[in-house]
Point group: C2
């Protein structure tokens, strides 16, 4: 008997019909002799609707109360799913985050899991029932208050439960067939990846692949949880995200796992910075104080004549104005000449565990882009990833060119359904 | 400093604007120097919508899961209300039934309160915050499961908290100005009652007055909680429901408190029952087994020639078919000749603590009805109430006639807003 954790996103439980469809799938899994724990998100756009309601009442809602409000969404979905499963003759019980033992810190809106004590879930399984757990939510032991885990929270709930229950696999159901070599909406020839290491998945997620949240992948890697990303609309095998023992995979792993694009970033250039030690540290201390999530950083070579240099970095567009304001406030003490803000950039990332032992990858990437007339503005690399920044309007071409250059194109086009969960 | 419990029904928090209006009223009460605990129902039709959703998924939802689902409604309302109050500069914290210590038995859908341990609510008050508590919900200590209290549950939550916290008053906010001598929708000349005993209120609620639920009034009487029923749409004084010490009120209390009508009942007549001892007991044992809530019972005098008698009783229309089925199944063992079902009846009740010492009340009532040509089909009395059953289509005339006969008509017509809470 296997223990399977299944996570269904909001688009998989968007209405009564979808809930009944998902219930049938869960019942099949249970009747095949598995123990089943289900983590579910709020139905369709419920979370956005609740958020809108909060903003109708008050512009800046209290974090504690916003969490109390938003957690109503999963509560509705999980209760409906549990009653639907029961109506098919299989016992099912729904549990809130706190009932399922998702203990977090007290950071409302983006709480971190500090412990998982799924005693009631284990008990339900022992009694033959399917346990349905609300994704995205937990509670803090000190304050006794309800918390939410922030973006991608339901994925994280599923992985954390899988780790605590020592599940055989954690299935993440979504509206696409798995992880692709690139976004199928952008690159119709994108191929589904059958198997990918968590390390590669982490880089893909960080590079903008939206199917899995980076936080859930990190958690899975740290706790050795195997993920299976698959579609809730068919029975196809999806993508296995595995945690190979060191060295185990070096022989057969392909050079490149995939190509990701990210259009959510903006670039800030601090121009005319005095080229003296400590200035970069001063700038990024200011940036950090505005809570910006910096991605790439590039410092140009100093023009010897002026004794000044330019420092550029990328960050999410949503954090642009706060960061600009923080830097402007310190213009005199830093001594820079001007700030430039550019939100028309795109970032392309090439990810593959194989590239760490293959020096030719960057050259091939840069050549492919050059031959297509696409200009590279910034470059950053990790051991298994190369990212380049281009103009936003060239990013689609860039992804297709690179996808072909590395022989990633598949034979059958990918099937894509609408909507995204959380 | 007074401790005030305020309960707002669904129609008082139907949308963002209403929530902001209620928040202002709560802030006023707090700033006037009172400690404030607020019990809130789900917004507008939320509960009905959730119930519809459940029935889209499955015809007969599990009780445990239905409670889990429905409690999402109050959760949404209380979080929005708390954030609205906080935005007005007064600290506020929302608590679920279980966080507020509403301990119940495990009867899903109609749980009874077995204990109230409002430690966190008391703590919030001690720290100067307004405590917002979800009405209608509790939890069971043995199963650890969420429960709901059934119809009128939010009133009961408010009264139970008021009792446990030894509140000075429990204010029940609704869409009318208080308790009236009759339903203002039916009798435009109905007068608002300034003060009524809980005993009279209990009889009025049992007789069909819908402003307060009988269960909440019972709880208030048993625990000595003073209720103040008033409108959330204005600042008028409403109706005080008081618990006079024995004898205290006998002098000044008026003869009649009010007239109530109830069109929700049906009448079942078991005809041709053998007139031998034990038959009535047998019939009502059968009726009880179908969980019917019997109201009035009348047994006609036996016709000596036949040795048979007729027994009639009233019960809620919704329970009619189950009770008919239960009786039919036992026709042979009881030995009755036929069953008659009549759902075209109306019940008029005259309530007043003064009538227990005044023999002329029944005579005046029957005379008033007789002079208006309204036929009386059944009569039942308690110490402070007389109820009569008439045809349903004469009930409105009957209420007006009786209201006038007992000089209850006021000078100014009552103001009525739409909608009802729970």
């Amino acid at each position: 008997m296997s223990l399977i954790v299944q996570k269904y996103g909001g688009s998989s439980v968007a209405d009564a019909e979808s809930i009944k469809r998902v219930a049938k799938r869960i019942v099949q899994t249970r009747k095949a002799g598995n123990e089943v724990v289900v983590v579910v998100s709020a139905m369709g756009d419920t979370t956005d609707e609740l958020m809108d309601l909060a903003h109708e009442v008050v512009p800046l809602p209290s974090g504690r109360e916003l969490d109390m409000l938003l957690t109503a969404g999963e509560r509705i979905a999980m209760a409906l799913l549990a009653m639907s499963i029961k109506s098919l003759g299989v016992d099912a019980r729904s549990y809130t985050g706190s009932q399922a033992g998702m203990i977090t810190d007290a950071q409302h809106g983006s709480a971190r899991i500090v412990d998982v004590t799924p005693g009631r879930v284990r008990e339900a399984l022992d009694e033959g029932a399917v346990a349905i757990v609300a994704g995205f939510q937990g509670f803090n032991r000190v304050t006794g208050d309800i918390t939410t885990l922030g973006r991608g929270g339901s994925d994280t709930t599923a992985v954390a439960l899988a780790a605590a229950l020592k599940a055989d696999v954690c299935e993440i159901y979504t509206d696409v067939d798995g992880i692709f070599t690139s976004d199928p909406r952008q690159v119709p020839s994108a191929r589904k990846i059958d198997r990918i290491t968590s390390e590669e998945m982490l880089e893909l997620a960080a590079a903008g692949a939206k199917v899995l949240y980076i936080r859930a992948v990190e958690y899975a890697r740290r706790h050795g949880v195997t993920l299976h990303v698959r579609s809730s609309f068919n029975n196809n095998e999806g993508t296995l995200v595995v945690n190979p023992v060191d060295g185990e995979n070096s022989v057969e792993e392909p050079l490149i796992a995939g190509v990701a694009a990210d259009l959510s970033q903006a670039k800030i250039t601090v121009a005319g910075v005095p080229d003296i030690p400590g200035k970069a540290a001063q700038i990024f201390t200011i940036v950090a104080s505005s809570n910006a999530n910096i991605d790439m950083i590039v410092q140009n070579v100093s023009a010897a004549a002026t004794g000044r240099t330019d420092i550029s970095f990328t960050l999410p567009k949503t954090e642009g104005s706060a960061t600009i304001a923080a830097l402007e406030a310190q213009r005199e003490s830093v001594g820079f000449e001007m700030l430039q803000y550019d939100d028309q950039i795109g970032k392309l990332s090439l990810v593959g565990a194989g590239m760490r032992t293959n020096a030719g990858v960057s050259a091939k990437l840069f050549t492919a882009l050059f031959e297509s007339g696409i200009n590279i503005e910034m470059i950053s690399t990790s051991e298994i990833r190369i990212s380049v920044v281009t103009r936003a309007d060239t990013i689609n071409d860039a992804v297709r060119v690179v996808h072909s250059a590395f022989d990633l194109d598949g034979d059958t086009p990918a099937v894509v359904h609408g909507g995204t969960g959380r």
